[in-house]
């Protein structure tokens, strides 16, 4: 018996060596070890070299006063605030232009994408021309182009005035600011209640439709009437508890109101038209991916073309549209960092630009900026993936 055991042991060693699973694991462990070593090596190399050159490191600089101005801030910021605050200001500005860009690019993309499939020759060809032009020009070039055009707007002393409340010049668009006074909270509350009630009515109407087959006539109008009417009524009773802070020409510039800098306008516009062209193609291909039999079947059931699009085609097209749409949203957010070319104070411009230069702590600043973009990208990805699982084809036969 003993000889047999040793024979078996021998065999099992050889088996281990040629076992695909074991070899697979070994390769992975080895790869991970090499990767870990490379990361460790790069980090320690950087640390040693920085120490040798006398470059300071650490995150202490975040508590130091920034002492420079930022032209557009969504939160209160002054010259005595710290670099940590600069990070916040820059991050918010990046988020602002990204969110505005994503909303506008989606709307534009859907419009143009459907336009591409239009039976109207002119609409289809114009949409095609738009897509081909804006998709094929480098984004940086487009940003510079639109900003160059914006600079040709009237100079500040020749501002275009709309009424006496909106002024447009090549520095910005000056709009009135809403100042809330006592009682405006009640109006806000009424708006909230109105929205909740309107949503309730919608659910009730849907249940009615599902259970008894009855439709509520003019449901959208009823909902709007509730959501808008209620706060309007409260506002009327309280004699409109708000006022406007109007922009006024004073000295060199306009004071008061809200100033939307032209750099934001140009950046937002370029991101929108550029990404919109890609989204249009995604929407077009998504709709084209739905078998024509689907809309034919819908038509034969007596659905009108609008309903066919909304109830039959789009829900199926979304399954194709959403995954590539995620990439476009991520691209737009990352592309917003080109802001630096025209001086829009986004995160890359103020934090990994000015702060980096004034403190000299490149590695820390760049790491923080990278972490921010990564966090934003992963959040968008997560949100869109959740949405995707909701619209995705559920297993089994279509119900």
């Amino acid at each position: 018996m003993p000889p047999q055991t040793s024979f078996q042991t021998k065999r099992s060693w050889r088996d281990l060596l040629f076992d695909a699973r074991v070899r697979g694991w070994a390769a992975q462990v080895l790869t991970l070890a090499v990767l870990a070593y490379v990361v460790f090596f790069l980090a320690s190399n950087a640390a040693t070299n920085m120490r040798a050159l006398g470059i300071s490191s650490g995150f202490g600089f975040l508590g130091q006063e920034a002492s420079f101005d930022i032209s557009m801030t969504l939160v209160d910021y002054d010259l005595t605030d710290t670099h940590a605050k600069v990070f916040l200001v820059g991050a918010l500005n990046t988020l602002l232009v990204s969110v505005l860009g994503i909303l506008a690019a989606t709307a534009l993309g859907i419009l143009i994408g459907i336009g591409r499939l239009s039976d109207n020759w002119l609409v289809a060809k114009l949409s095609l021309a738009y897509v081909e032009v804006f998709r094929n020009l480098p984004l940086l070039f487009q940003i510079l182009f639109w900003y160059g055009l914006v600079l040709l707007w009237p100079k500040v002393r020749d501002s275009i005035a709309i009424g006496n409340s909106v002024f447009i010049n090549n520095r910005g668009i000056e709009i009135p600011r809403l100042v809330f006074e006592e009682g405006s909270g009640l109006v806000g509350g009424a708006l909230l209640i109105g929205l909740i009630v309107a949503y309730g009515v919608r659910r009730w109407a849907h249940r009615l439709h599902d259970q008894e087959g009855k439709t509520v006539p003019g449901l959208p109008l009823v909902m709007i009437a509730i959501a808008v009417g209620l706060p309007l009524l409260v506002a009327l009773v309280l004699q409109f508890p708000w006022s406007y802070d109007l922009p006024v020409r004073k000295g060199f510039n306009y004071k008061g109101g809200i100033s939307i800098p032209t750099s934001l306008v140009a950046l937002w516009f370029s991101l929108t038209v550029y990404t919109g062209a890609f989204i249009a193609e995604i929407v077009r291909s998504g709709i084209a991916a739905v078998a024509p039999g689907q809309s034919e079947a819908a038509a034969s059931l007596g659905l009108r073309s609008g309903m066919t699009m909304r109830l039959v085609v789009l829900p199926q097209a979304l399954r194709v549209i959403v995954p590539p749409l995620i990439s476009q949203y991520l691209n737009l957010t990352k592309n917003s960092s080109l802001a630096v070319a025209i001086g829009y104070p986004d995160l890359v411009n103020v934090f990994s630009g000015t702060s980096l230069n004034q403190t000299g702590q490149a590695i820390e600043v760049i790491l923080m900026t990278m972490a921010f973009y990564l966090a934003i990208s992963l959040t968008i990805s997560l949100g869109m993936n959740i949405y995707n699982t909701r619209v995705a084809m559920k297993g089994g036969a279509p119900r």
């Binding site: 090499v34 070593y37 490379v38 090596f41 190399n45 920085m50 040798a52 050159l53 006398g54 470059i55 300071s56 002492s67 420079f68 101005d69 930022i70 032209s71 010259l79 160059g148 600079l151 040709l152 100079k155 500040v156 090549n170 520095r171 004073k250 000295g251 060199f252 510039n253 004071k255 032209t262 630096v340 070319a341 001086g343 104070p345 411009n349 103020v350 630009g353 000015t354 980096l356 230069n357 004034q358 403190t359 000299g360 702590q361 490149a362």
Partner: protein, 337 residues
Amino acid sequence: MRYSSLAAALLMLVGLTLPASASTLEDVKGRGHLNCGVSTGLAGFALPSASGEWVGFDVDFCRAVAAAIFNDPSKVKFTPLTNKERFTALQSGEIDVLSRNTTWTMTRDMKLGLEFAGVNYYDGQGFLVPIALGVQSALELDGARVCVQTGTTTELNLADYFRGNNMEFESVVISTADDARTNYLAEACDVYTTDASGLAALRSTFPDPSAHIILPEIISKEPLGLIVRHGDNQWGDLVRWTLNAMINAEELGLTSQNVGEFEDDPSPKIRRLLGKEGDFGEQIGLDALWARHVIEHVGNYGEVFDRNLGKDSTLSLDRGLNALWSEGGILFAPPVR
């Protein structure tokens, strides 16, 4: 195949761990040219000419260092850098010298791992405004929109000045002098601020320079200098003494035109500078004739100034502070001895 690529990766790692050469001078000699960082384009300081050659005040100091090393001022590769990029380029070893109207400040000297090899231009920050604006003094600029370059001392001085005088301002932060020109001429900002020399340089490129004035207030001290990496003292000395040699040459009356005539001059100061006496070349790791090569190919400090910024240039700046100490300025180079 797979094994060979793994081997290649390992070899690369080993290569990375080898220490970089400690001596910049050896690197430069081995490479056969100097890598010099200059501005992205500022008339008088660094600008590519019609024929594609870099010309300007900052450019000439790079050429002087190349002449000292190679006896050939053309052995320089110029890297145009924005304010934001300049220090990283130097720290990472992409360039050997930064000659890019950069202000010497304590933070930069201490925290960035840099070494200032000397001051080649004493400047101060000013404001450029269109005459049509009707402003006579910087103190009348309350509420103005100011164009300023990012990553500069200028940006901080601007904030300090307005804060100190209880004035408000709005900044338009741009990245190059060219962007400044575009925004300023479109009147997207009321004022442009940078070092007074930079203002004059930019103004000289305007369609109508006479419609713009530089306000009398100079709000800061801006000693602009040549910068090298911290830690290589030999290289720092070489750059520092190239600058000193050029200032000394002007003081001694040596120019690119007449330096040949001083071959047998008895003055010990001249003999030491031209390598006839002493071992100064050897001390900084160069040929005995290093200073002579600088003067011959590039000229003395005054020649470089006049040619690019002063009376022989379109800028026609005054020497002002940048005259020799003996002529009312503050240029006072340590002696070669």
